[in-house]
């Protein structure tokens, strides 16, 4: 019993990271129908820049803020330099551009930083908290809290604010959005900034547990993508539930089958979703996207 609880705790922790990545996917997807495969690189940059700034002597909170801000700027630059010039291209082409961006960022990180594995101290110490025979790290609570806070923020943003509706309107019909006075160029810039910042936040929160290096991005991107697909692309609630579900499945696979199969779990989920539930759990049905 305590064994199961332990697996669930680690599932929640890693699931929270995937949920944050999936939430990052949601914003850009909502603004443009583009699945941004560079989302995982934002997570990597969040961790790497924080480590770098912290190692250079800055206090951890400041280093984390710098990492988030710098990654957001990089997200904006990616939109301006790679996505905007290709405006009007089919969504598939734009998705391929994001894969290129992902490879580029990974390579650049290898040059700018190094090829080592890094970490920085957990925010509230490393003393495990005992719960019902299992233990959970304080940092796990940070990650989980972060995922839930971002979800609530995004949910309010998309349902309550006119700017959030403008993002949804832009993806629904770009020309119509312009006609009602929405600056769709700004909406895209904002989406990339927000997505990148959320990705970086995931990296900042997760690194004390998962460690980071230049190459961790693609793994996060694929697991987060699996979560977003499972929950239904574009839906913040789906991203949250899907991300946590992938984390759980992964932890249980590692615990009860073999940790060798843990990475396969996410891909089995992607395939199963594509076969049986293409809209995901909370996805829009394709019939209303005329």
């Amino acid at each position: 019993m305590s064994e199961l609880l332990q697996f669930l705790f680690s599932g929640v922790t890693i699931g929270a990271v995937y949920a944050l990545v999936a939430l990052g996917f949601t914003i850009i997807y909502n603004a443009s129908d583009v699945v941004n495969f560079a989302q995982g690189e934002f997570v990597m940059l969040g961790g790497m820049i924080t480590w770098f700034a912290h190692a250079a002597g800055l206090p951890l909170p400041l280093a984390a803020l710098i990492a988030i801000a710098a990654t957001a700027c990089l997200g904006v630059a990616m939109n301006k330099l790679m996505i905007e010039p290709a405006r009007g291209a089919p969504v598939v082409s734009l998705i391929i551009i994001t894969i290129g961006a992902s490879i580029f960022i990974e390579g650049a990180a290898q040059l700018v930083f190094d090829k080592q594995i890094h970490s920085f101290p957990a925010f509230s110490g490393d003393a495990p908290i005992r719960v019902g025979g299992a233990t959970i790290l304080p940092q796990s609570l940070w990650v989980t809290g972060g995922a839930i806070a971002v979800f609530v923020g995004l949910w309010l943003f998309f349902t309550r604010t006119l700017l959030g509706r403008a993002v949804l309107a832009t993806s629904n019909n770009r020309l119509a959005a312009q006609l009602v006075g929405i600056n769709t160029t700004f909406v895209m810039t904002l989406s990339f900034a927000l997505s990148a910042a959320i990705g970086a936040l995931a990296g900042v929160l997760a690194t004390p547990i998962t460690l980071t290096s230049y190459g961790v991005g693609i793994g996060f991107a694929l697991k987060g993508f699996a979560g977003a697909m499972l929950g239904g692309m574009g839906n913040p609630k789906g991203a949250l539930v899907g991300g946590f579900a992938i984390g759980m499945i992964e932890a249980l696979t590692a615990g009860y089958l073999s940790s060798q199969y843990k990475d396969a779990a996410a891909f089995v989920v992607i395939l199963a979703v594509l076969f049986f539930l293409p809209q995901g759990l909370f996805g829009r049905t394709s019939t209303d996207r005329v």
Binding site: L156, T161, L162, L163, A177, Q178, R284
Partner: protein
């Protein structure tokens, strides 16, 4: 009162083809100006240039004395130009009400943080936008369809929904591209009244329409295009007697390649 919208020598070429060439006319507040012409005469292209969807190759668009040629659609919307499309530009996965609410994007914009936190001011803005949108839906006869997904509405309903959304911007100039297309006689008459009413409130209206009875009934001024050029303009009685217009529509010299409207 001077011209609200002035079109000066507007032209555009697509791959060597002069789609629109040297078209000029003016629209004053409260006036209904119709652009007519056979299919392929360049009416929609002209609209696209005026509303910033296409950048004109020649000429100027002057709105309230300012040169707005080639300005992006969202900036034109902010300056009081609003339009509808022949082939509908709505938000299919939103409800009719949500579509209309987007029209309030400009007027009821507030600080994002206030919206996020649900502060009283933000809630008041959201309420005003929703009340305004409901009133507009009622005005175009769509109050019962408010909660339905726009993608499931009939073509005629969508036409009216698009007009409602355009009106939410409280435009100074309203460009309507075939507002009565796909509507039955009763709906056409309703749209007729609606357009006259909007014009009476001082909005300048520029109209492309194939329903000649409607055009003759409500227009103050008619501009006739053929092969991308202005061949006549004037009040409805003058234009309908103009030999060049009759020739263009009936294809006296042009053969059968132009269906009449």
């Amino acid at each position: 009162m001077s011209d609200l919208l002035s079109i000066e020598g507007l032209g555009i070429t697509f791959g060597g083809l002069k789609a629109v060439h040297d078209v000029s006319f003016r629209v004053r507040p409260g006036e209904i100006v119709s652009v007519i012409g056979p299919n392929g005469a360049g009416k929609t292209t002209l609209f696209n240039m005026i509303s910033g969807v296409y950048r004109p190759g020649a000429g100027r668009v002057v709105l309230e004395g300012d040169d707005v040629t080639g300005m992006e659609p969202h900036l034109l919307a902010r300056r009081g130009m609003s339009r509808t499309f022949q082939n509908l530009q709505i938000f299919p996965s939103m409800t009719a009400l949500e579509n209309a609410v987007t029209g309030y994007h400009l007027q009821e914009r507030g600080p994002v943080l206030a919206d996020l936190l649900g502060l009283p001011g933000a809630r008041a803005r959201a309420r005003r936008a929703e009340e305004g949108a409901r009133a507009l839906l009622a005005r175009v006869g769509l109050e019962r369809a408010a909660e339905r997904a726009a993608g499931n509405l009939s073509y005629g309903s969508l036409k009216r929904l698009e007009i409602a959304r355009a009106l939410a911007l409280e435009p100074k100039v309203l460009l309507l591209d075939e507002p009565a297309a796909g509507c039955n006689a009763v709906e056409t008459e309703e749209i007729d009244h609606l357009i006259a009413e909007v014009a009476a409130s001082g909005v300048a209206i520029l109209l492309v329409e194939h329903d000649m009875k409607m055009v003759m009934r409500i227009s103050n001024h008619i501009v006739v295009l053929d092969h991308g050029e202005k061949i006549a303009e004037g009040d409805p009685a003058t234009v309908s007697r103009n030999p060049a217009v009759i020739a263009a529509y009936l294809g006296v010299e042009e053969g059968q390649d132009h269906a009449h409207g």
